[in-house]
């Protein structure tokens, strides 16, 4: 449908198990860009017996498609019982194609041109041979016919007019980070698998050969970050990916990057904690942790992308900032964004250039000192052996040459040098996005992956003439200079977060002395939806 010019947004809900359990995938199709799920379901395809009882109430004016065996005792006029399995067996002799039958049935219900689906099936199953393609197409057609032309004829009342395009992509948050990393010229990614971050590693791995990159699965997260630091020290752009539990093991390495001033990009896909928590669900519960992880004091940068496209852009920026300030940069995502599927025009990378912020050979000599004190705090960086130079880095406090130095005067100078980098970094930071009407009575404040549902909630409310807007942060740390004056100009503020304690509201207070009026917190492992936000606002009595 993406190729037909529609905007699709999807997300999945799965359990921390490989098979079985009640897993589901929700998709929304629209002729304008959408970045959130709707709580109102138009078409529910039930593939297990739990689906109907659990979700039928969400189907307001739509239909439920289900195999006869799954319908069971459920009686509801919305239910369209289709013998998926039987049809599959009919056309192919196997049960295997019942999912394809179901998709065909959905197309039938949508009165949508089946040719699109057929094209898709041909491409997808090409690898598996003509027979498989053919059986899939047959199955889709049979499902389509059953709904469109059989006893449900006339039920389809959607009017979806395709506008074919080639430039449109359907991409999730994790893939966008991976693609962003490739666009930024990442050449070394070491990681240990961890839901919901693994997709970034596999995305980079899929293209590593074309991009002269190495993806290495480490024995643990300690090795993962330290390998990346070693690769970066030696001269390439390097990153690691993980979730909260793995990040715990990376914190010492984070400090190592801090004191050795080695650029490194760390992708952290949040999931509900503490500890193993809810591995496959979503939460924004690690903000405080990433801001303060590792002993001692050193500059870091935290970026929390809002959407897949933002994830792409922020990843490119993360590498640039890491190189420019020679610091660790954290990309803070979560399962909601990781698995969220977005539709866009193909990202424009035509005039992408990268600057490694490295010394040119002609400025590197045998007297090179890695930690020269400068006003900006940034010491010109050479790589080991470059032009005969020796590069000495140390996790102990060190002098300009990089050697251990425990004198107090040196300590003060080096500590201040490193911390001075925050000034430049702050100049670099972007202001929060403002969505909705100006000077609204109510401002939602959000960060990271909540952008989609919050922006849509604001749109819906603005259409209903509620005076509300959204102030949404993607640059989390440090804050841009002008943030306070923006915030001070707001009326009622409601900080909306996917956690139980309001970590971002606390950050605003800690960093800016800004106190939000109210907090809206969700911590059941699920993301906000526009409807849930509106409901909560009503519950709070603010609208």
């Amino acid at each position: 449908m993406v190729r037909d010019g529609f905007y699709v947004y999807g997300n999945q809900f799965y359990l921390s198990r490989v098979r079985g359990g009640h897993n589901y995938f929700q998709i929304r199709v629209s002729d304008h860009p959408v970045y959130a799920l709707d709580e109102k379901i138009d078409i529910l395809v039930a593939l297990d017996t739990q689906t109907i009882p659990e979700h039928i109430d969400e189907v307001k004016e739509g239909f439920v498609l289900a195999d006869e065996s799954i319908v069971g005792d459920n009686v509801d006029e919305k239910i369209i019982s289709v013998p998926f399995t039987e049809i599959s067996k009919d056309v192919s002799g196997k049960k295997l194609f019942s999912n394809t039958v179901a998709v065909g049935a959905v197309f039938g219900l949508l009165c949508y041109d089946l040719a699109t689906l057929k094209r898709f099936l041909s491409e997808t199953f090409k690898r598996k041979g003509d027979e498989v393609v053919e059986k899939n197409i047959k199955a889709a057609q049979a499902g389509y016919d059953y709904v469109k032309n059989g006893k449900f004829e006339g039920i389809c009342n959607y009017n979806l007019s395709p506008q074919p395009t080639n430039r449109r992509i359907l991409i999730n948050g994790n893939d966008s980070v991976g693609v962003g990393a490739l666009a930024a010229g990442v050449q070394f990614l070491s990681a240990y698998p961890m839901t919901p971050s693994t997709g970034v590693m596999t995305r980079v791995a899929a293209h590593a050969d074309d991009f002269n990159a190495v993806v290495e699965q480490a024995e643990d997260e300690i090795a993962a970050i330290n390998m990346a630091i070693g690769a970066s020290f030696a001269g390439v752009r390097a990153m690691t990916t993980t979730s909260g539990g793995g990040f715990c093991l990376m914190t010492e390495g984070l400090g190592l990057a801090g004191i050795t001033e080695t650029p490194v990009v760390i992708f952290l896909g949040q999931r509900p904690g503490p500890a193993t928590g809810l591995p496959t669900m979503t939460e924004q519960g690690d903000l405080n942790f990433v801001l303060h992880a590792a002993q001692g004091e050193f500059p870091r940068c935290v970026l929390a992308p809002r959407t897949a496209k933002d994830a792409f852009n922020q990843t490119i920026r993360a590498f640039d900032i890491a190189d420019k300030y020679q610091i660790p940069v954290l990309i803070l995502s979560d399962q909601h964004l990781a698995d969220g599927l977005f539709t866009y025009e193909r990202f424009d990378t035509s005039d992408l250039k990268i600057n490694r912020h490295l010394l040119e050979d002609r400025f590197v000599g045998s007297d090179y000192q890695r930690y020269t004190i400068t006003e900006s705090g940034i010491s010109p960086r050479a790589i080991p052996g470059q032009n005969g130079a020796l590069v000495v880095a140390d996790s102990d406090e060190h002098n300009e040459a990089g050697h251990i130095d425990q004198t107090t005067g040196n300590r003060i100078r080096m500590n201040e040098k490193r911390l001075r980098k925050v000034d430049g970094l702050t100049d670099e930071m972007q202001m929060p996005a403002i969505h909705g009407i100006d000077g609204a009575d109510i401002s939602l404040i959000g960060w990271g992956s909540t952008y989609g549902p919050l922006a849509e909630a604001v749109d819906i409310l603005n259409r209903d003439e509620v005076s509300i807007n959204l102030i949404h942060f993607s640059d989390i740390y440090p804050f841009s200079h002008d943030t306070v004056s923006l915030l001070d100009g707001l009326n009622t503020t409601i900080c909306v977060e996917n956690n139980a304690t309001g970590q971002f509201a606390r950050l605003l207070r800690a960093e800016l002395g800004f106190e939000v009026s109210k907090k809206m917190l969700r911590y059941d492992g699920l993301p906000f939806t526009p409807q849930s936000v509106i409901r909560e606002l009503k519950g709070m009595g603010v609208i």
């Binding site: 359907l170 190495v214 005969g388």
Partner: protein, 284 residues
Amino acid sequence: MVTMDDYKDGETEWCPGCGNFNILEAVKRSLVGLGKKPHEVLMVSGIGQSGKLPHYLKCNTFNSLHGRTLPPATGAKVANPELTVIAVGGDGDSYGEGGNHFIHAIRRNPDITLIAHDNQIYGLTKGQASPTSELGMKTKVQTHGVLHTPFNPLAVAISLDCPFVARGFAGDVEHLSSLITQAISHKGFSLVDVLQPCVTFNKLNTYKWYRDRVYKMEYNGHDPANRMAAFEKALEWGDRIPTGVFYKRDSETFESKLDILKKGPLIKDQYDSAKMDSVFENFS
């Protein structure tokens, strides 16, 4: 020509008489012998007395965290295989805090030499047991003496089919230097475990204690190509302690298995944003 002077650097901070001086000397001799220029060498060290070694040499240095010598060494080697990468760590560094990296670096097999300063004690933190401390040795923490079977780095390395496994003695610089030279020259992960007297905290494993026991296997007909014999030798520890090359085999290094590196070091790659088009194909 590279000379010893090329590798001279600042004041040392070890106790007088410490075995580390000899290891430093041996490393220098090997690098000079191999004709390596300081800027071609990257030393990655951990935290401990041993971890200070690179500071007393002239070379590229990444003095990492305690226990974390091998991961950054591996990352650096992959990024720039033209560097001669040597990791130095203590027995605590290499086999205690860094034990997991030790195992998996052997499996991964990058062309790195690990020199483990095995003084059978935690030196820098003032004398607790290390993974290789003798059973029964008393310290302020091990008040009833060490209760854990000592870690046998050589046997473990051989069990993992490590391509080069050797033991040296800091009391014999010449022999040690020859082992280090071989280790650096041998392709793949090379382990040189060095018996290193800690004159301050280890009153048991002194120069004399080692001298009374060590012997060189090479004069004893040991065949380093024989893995079973190597394993048997690795279990020998007591009145007689073998030194020399226990095990040696040809191997494909990690870097050589990474096809991408055949085009040259990653650090020399030219960035080209035009490649992005092929990526987006996957999403439409």
